[in-house]
């Protein structure tokens, strides 16, 4: 099976029915993508497939044949963190950090589509990603600080 992961062509052998989450973490060793529930409720496993936020625990790996997959590892460029990632650090938007990869990807897509979202739009965009540590306040602040 072949697809593009964070801009690089990758391939793996095995059943196409395996969860994309497992292929990413186990086969391709991209462990930034997390598992919080395995049933599509928490968003810790969020990745982008052709630019859309998707729960990778619900995707069969076979479905991404030929697709463009982005994980949190793909947000940094040339080893430098993205402005959104830096804002998360500076504003205390990550506590334990397990929701952070999914939050970053969901926020990244929002900011690509809406240059100046308001707080309500940020809440809406992040509603599929659960965080139990932060109360969301600092996550929302961090995303708003990156509006251009």
């Amino acid at each position: 099976m072949h697809f593009t992961l964070n801009g690089r062509a990758v391939s793996f052998e095995g059943a196409g029915s395996r969860r994309l989450l497992d292929v990413l973490r186990e086969d391709l060793r991209q462990t930034g993508t997390k598992e919080g529930c395995g049933e599509g409720e928490c968003g810790a496993c969020s990745v982008l497939i052709d630019g859309e936020v998707v729960n990778s625990c619900l995707v069969a790996a076979g479905q991404v044949e030929g697709c463009d997959v982005t994980t949190v590892e793909g947000l940094a460029t040339n080893g430098g963190l993205s402005p959104l990632q830096r804002a998360f650090i500076e504003r205390g938007a990550a506590q334990c950090g397990i929701c952070t990869p999914g939050m970053l990807l969901a926020a990244h897509v929002l900011l690509q589509r809406t240059r100046r979202p308001n707080a309500a739009a940020v809440r809406e965009a992040l509603a599929g990603n659960l965080c139990r540590c932060t109360g969301y306040t600092k996550i929302i602040e961090a995303v708003l600080s990156c509006a251009t």
Binding site: K34, E35, G36, C37, G38, E39, G40, E41, C42, A44, R91, G92, Q95, C96, G97, I98, C99, V122, R123, E124, L126, A127, G128, N129, L130, C131, R132, C133, T134, G135, Y136, T137, K138, I139, I140
Partner: protein, 582 residues
């Protein structure tokens, strides 16, 4: 008998007595009685329980020796270490426990990881191979411990002018089918049960009972949210009976320097009930816009305190130890078993050490939480990490700096907690200094109640918190915000339905926690009233934000609808039923 109020199997009981409650009631103009109920709550750390066990331990040069190594998602490495030693008959050296990056704990990874570790270790020893054991969410929800549900009754005697004469309080916590840390949870519940108020005559009787449910255990707040929920609503009911504002009544009753608590502890410093009450009241706009039917607005307030550190002689018995080492290359290492679980341990420990050493933050690193490397600084619980362990690091680093002026590196300084002589606690009578110090919070919650559906939306939460000194203000706010939302969830949507002693909604699709859309705007005001023995005056605040929001929300629902709920969660069914039966 599985109904908590009638259960006959008792895990532990506590009685706290101060003054003479009967005499208080005799002198009273009014005696107000009320019973409250609180429900189960799941910690719901986003990373489920998990551990990897290796049937050996590695020594310095990569050699494998007899023993067991466990790497896991956990709060308290030395708890797991003790459990492994006992279960597998290992020596101190043979059992090695290493904390992995941990995706949230909230008390849920205090005790339970010992079970996961032992299971994984047994399998690894049998197989002769490493074993990875990770709970899926369903298993985690179905099997791990929850916040204790409980029933709490109050009888409060007052004079017409509001003078508080006596409090008679009875607490029953549901421990479930096996005894966990339940007796310790009960202790914190009992000590906080009278609330942040000064009362001459108090009786608190508390019991933890066995029922037919999975066991309940540690969860942020550790019994205090349950008993403070009842204490705070009791202030509301007494104020209503007196025809007084509950804020004025709180001002009349609140603890001040020189007052004594229910256990007879004389409060000598860093007492901030009034400070946080004023700060919270100042921070909110006085009036809200009138709502459009069927929505009604309401506002409620609560005032709470929370003991920092272990109860009573806990810190003395534990005598936590830390070390700070100066390495030959000029960098420094902090050695503690206190874990980072999202609350900022790594950052503030390095800040405290760098400051005391007079070096840049980049020169200080935290050694891994690995029991073969670091001393036992105690568990990462009880709002003790910054205040107790942080202070030890500060002391060790200061001594290291002084010694480094005379002696060459490498150097290592160890510090062990010594209970100050001024702290007295009598375990047998429950009299004395229950905690070294208390942190304080006032929470104001605004709600919208939909009168047709009974749905409660918490729109705003403002909390003023006295943390002594905020070592890292952004992270301190983060603790308050996250804890507040956890409490909002407990008060409104987090409900576990039981059937034959099991949980009915044991999946994330059916056990709901607040999303970014459900979460209120949360604002934190940090008030700093330093504590003389905390690092730079800091007190523990990890658990405090769990205490205040639930009673404030119930008071806000009353403000909106005119009905009093006596329990959480305030689900739409309960709100509607209360409104229609009125």
């Amino acid at each position: 008998m599985f109904e908590v109020t009638q259960a006959t199997e008792v895990y532990s009981t506590i009685e706290i007595a101060k003054g003479d409650v009967a005499a208080g009631e005799q002198a009273a103009d009014f005696v107000v009685e009320r019973t409250f109920r609180v429900g189960l709550q799941e910690q719901l750390y986003i990373e489920p329980q998990g551990a990897i066990a290796y049937p050996y331990r590695e020594t310095g040069n990569g050699k494998r020796e007899t023993g067991v190594t466990v790497v896991g998602s956990l709060q308290c490495p030395y708890y797991v270490h003790r459990a492994l030693k006992r279960a597998l008959a290992l020596t101190d050296e043979q059992a090695v426990v290493i904390q992995a990056e941990t995706g949230g704990g909230f008390g849920g990874k205090e005790e339970y990881p010992s079970i996961v570790a032992i299971h994984a270790a047994l399998l690894a020893c049998k197989a002769g191979w490493p074993v990875r054991l990770i709970y899926d969410r369903h298993e985690d929800l179905a099997a791990t411990t929850k916040r204790h549900p409980g029933v709490i009754s109050h009888r409060t005697a007052v004079k017409k002018d509001g003078t508080l004469l006596s409090q008679d309080i009875y607490i029953v916590l549901d421990g479930g089918a096996y005894c966990t840390l339940t007796p310790v949870v009960l202790s914190r519940a009992a000590i906080h049960a009278a609330g942040a108020y000064s009362c001459p005559n108090v009786r608190i009787r508390a019991r933890a009972v066995a029922t037919n449910t999975p066991p309940n255990g540690a969860f942020r707040g550790f019994g205090a949210p349950q008993s403070l929920f009842a204490a705070e609503l009791m202030v509301e009911h007494v104020a209503e009976r007196l025809g007084m504002s509950s804020v004025d009544l709180r001002r009349k009753w609140m603890l001040r320097v020189g007052d004594t608590t229910a256990t007879g502890q004389n409060l000598t410093e860093s007492v901030s009930a009034e400070l946080v009450l004023d700060a919270a009241l100042r921070a909110v706009a006085p009036n809200r816009l009138t709502a459009q039917p069927p929505i009604r607005h309401g506002r409620g307030l609560s005032l709470v305190f929370h003991g920092s550190g272990f109860t009573g002689s806990g810190e003395r018995k534990l005598s936590g130890t830390v070390a700070v080492a100066g390495l030959a290359n000029g960098t420094f290492q902090i050695l503690t078993a206190s874990t980072e679980i999202g609350q900022g341990t790594k950052t503030i420990f390095c800040q405290l050490a760098a400051d005391a050493l007079g070096v840049g933050l980049d020169k200080v690193v935290l050694a891994p939480q690995d029991t073969s490397l670091v001393p036992d600084s105690g568990p990462t619980v009880a709002s003790r990490t910054a205040m107790i362990v942080g202070r030890l690091i500060q002391e060790a680093a200061t001594e290291l700096r002084d010694r480094a002026k005379r002696e060459p590196l490498p150097l290592r300084v160890e510090k062990t907690y010594v209970q100050p002589d001024s702290i007295h606690w009598d375990e047998a009578t429950y009299r004395g200094d229950a905690y070294p110090v208390y942190a304080w919070a006032c929470t104001i919650a605004d709600v919208d109640v939909d009168m047709t559906t009974g749905e409660v939306r918490v729109t705003d939460v403002v909390t003023a918190v006295d943390c002594g000194k905020a070592l890292h203000p952004v992270m301190a706010e983060g603790q308050i915000e996250g804890g507040s939302l956890q409490a909002v969830g407990w008060a409104t949507i987090e409900e576990i339905k039981m059937k034959d002693g099991g949980y009915q909604n044991d999946r994330l699709a059916t056990y709901l926690i607040p999303t970014a859309l459900d979460a209120p705007r949360i604002r934190t005001i940090l008030v700093e009233n330093p504590y003389s023995r905390g690092p730079f005056g800091a007190k523990g605040i990890g658990e405090l934000p769990m205490d205040g929001p639930a009673p404030a929300i119930i008071a806000a629902i009353h403000d909106a609808t005119g009905v009093w709920l006596d329990e959480v969660p305030a689900t739409p069914e309960k709100v509607l039923a209360a409104c229609t039966s009125r």
